[in-house]
């Protein structure tokens, strides 16, 4: 091995990398919140909506889950402008991530909702709660607790998958790394450090979400 590693070059650009990493977190968090809203709406409509709507949602889920995220991004960013819908790179990235997370989130929430015994719903209705109230207080919140770990994992997968949006020039961590390595010729060092940052973010998010779970669900129940 004759290669001399120069990690000081990477260190000199830590500000750019930090900015890229921050945008990665921002894009994924925004997509997570909006995607969860889409998933909640879908799971409600799938349970209570008219059958054409149910079919449409089932089709949406199958379509998203069986095509690559990269192609979904290309469709949002390159194909939609042909229809006159033009969006910036960051908006397209978030839109694609929301659509993607919405499909997976619906499936995860559905699994949680199915774990709620039917008797609970009947009891809530018998107590005079409206359908929406029943859904919110008796079905959705307990279901969220059950599927919380699965949602947390899906969020981490989304954050990691967001590296792909560098392909449409959204300047998150991967795109920043790409441009830095092409100007400094220190490809290995930059990719090595960026990969480490992703790993740290994944572990960090897991720790934070685990903490939130404990505060929100475990501690209360113990008290």
């Amino acid at each position: 091995m004759h290669y001399a590693f120069h990690f000081n070059v990477v260190w000199a650009h830590w500000r750019d990398l930090a900015q890229g990493a921050w945008l990665t977190i921002e894009l994924s968090s925004l997509a997570m919140v909006l995607g969860l809203a889409v998933a909640t709406a879908c799971v409600y409509a799938k349970a209570a909506g008219p059958s054409p709507l149910r079919w449409a949602i089932a089709g949406y889920i199958e379509l998203i889950r069986n095509t690559p995220f990269l192609v979904q991004i290309f469709i949002v960013y390159f194909s939609l402008p042909a229809l006159g819908i033009s969006v910036g790179a960051n908006e397209a990235a978030v839109a694609a991530m929301v659509v993607n997370f919405g499909a997976y989130g619906t499936e995860i929430l559905r699994a949680g909702i199915e774990s709620i015994p039917r008797g609970q719903v009947d009891a809530a209705r018998a107590l005079g709660l409206t359908r929406l109230q029943t859904f919110r207080y008796v079905v959705l919140f307990p279901a969220l607790k059950t599927v919380y770990p699965a949602l947390a994992s899906q969020f981490i997968l989304l954050m990691l998958a967001s590296s792909v949006v560098s392909a449409i020039s959204a300047v998150e961590l991967t795109a920043v790394t790409n441009s830095l390595q092409s100007t400094t010729f220190r490809s290995f060092e930059f990719y090595f450090v960026a990969t480490g940052i992703y790993l740290a973010m994944a572990l960090g998010i897991r720790a934070v979400l685990g903490g939130v779970y404990w505060i929100r669900f475990v501690r209360r129940q113990g008290a």
Binding site: T67, I75, F78, S162, T195, A202
Partner: protein, 223 residues
């Protein structure tokens, strides 16, 4: 003059499917061998082996595939002083990637077998490898089939990311065709449809296998 999208363009894109399939197969077979070794190592009594393989899984599940591809591509050149082509770099990176995921899936399957099965077979004076071969693995294999097929879907979709490093498979072929025809509105949805045709049957198979194996094991899921 730009080309218009016609039958011969469609066939060119379709021809690239074989690279998507071949890459998926190589990664699946190579990753399967690796994943098997990892699953065994994860469930042994050796602390060192368990920690090493846990680290490997965490490294590959906690970082983006795209970063793994870049690292492999540039890492090889740096560490071994050889420039490798896109195909071996991509094939090796995806093999390591699927090894981590399959290893984790199969570890779960092995651990799902009750401890009493190990104890009972030990009482019958079976050695460790005999226990694995005649008692544990045949049962674990049944449980592992649906998630393994499910992972295959993830792998086929994941290979689209190889397009970003320039490996010509389905997604890259679509990109190249967009560059000469300027018809992203037709081509990207078409590419998505081809992926769907590959993945959807696998997804359905995974689900029906799961239902059948659940029924065989007497597991009732809420439907």
């Amino acid at each position: 003059m730009t080309r218009t999208f016609g039958l011969s363009e469609f066939l060119l894109i379709l021809a690239a499917v074989r690279w998507t399939i071949l890459l998926s197969l190589v990664a699946f077979v190579g990753g399967g061998i690796l994943g098997f070794a990892v699953a065994i190592a994860r469930t042994t009594s050796s602390r060192v082996l368990r920690l090493l393989t846990a680290g490997y899984i965490q490294a590959f599940q906690g970082t983006p595939v795209l970063m793994q591809l870049f690292l492999f591509y540039y890492g090889f050149a740096v560490l071994f002083d050889v420039q490798i082509d896109a195909w071996p770099a991509v094939a090796m990176a995806f093999t390591l990637y699927s090894g981590a995921f399959l290893g984790e899936i199969w570890r779960g399957s092995i651990e799902a077998i009750p401890q009493t099965q190990w104890e009972a077979s030990a009482c019958l004076s079976l050695g460790y490898f005999q226990q694995l071969r005649f008692v544990i693995l045949p049962q674990a294999m049944r449980i592992s089939i649906p998630p393994t097929v499910g992972f295959l879907v993830q792998l086929v979709k994941g290979t689209s990311i190889a397009a970003i490093v320039g490996f010509v498979e389905l997604t890259r072929a679509g990109q190249l065709m967009v560059n000469v025809t300027f018809q992203p509105m037709v081509i990207y949805p078409l590419v998505a449809a081809i992926y769907f045709a590959l993945c959807w049957p696998l997804s359905r198979l995974s689900r029906s296998l799961e239902r059948r194996i659940d029924a065989g094991l007497g597991i009732k899921r809420h439907l």
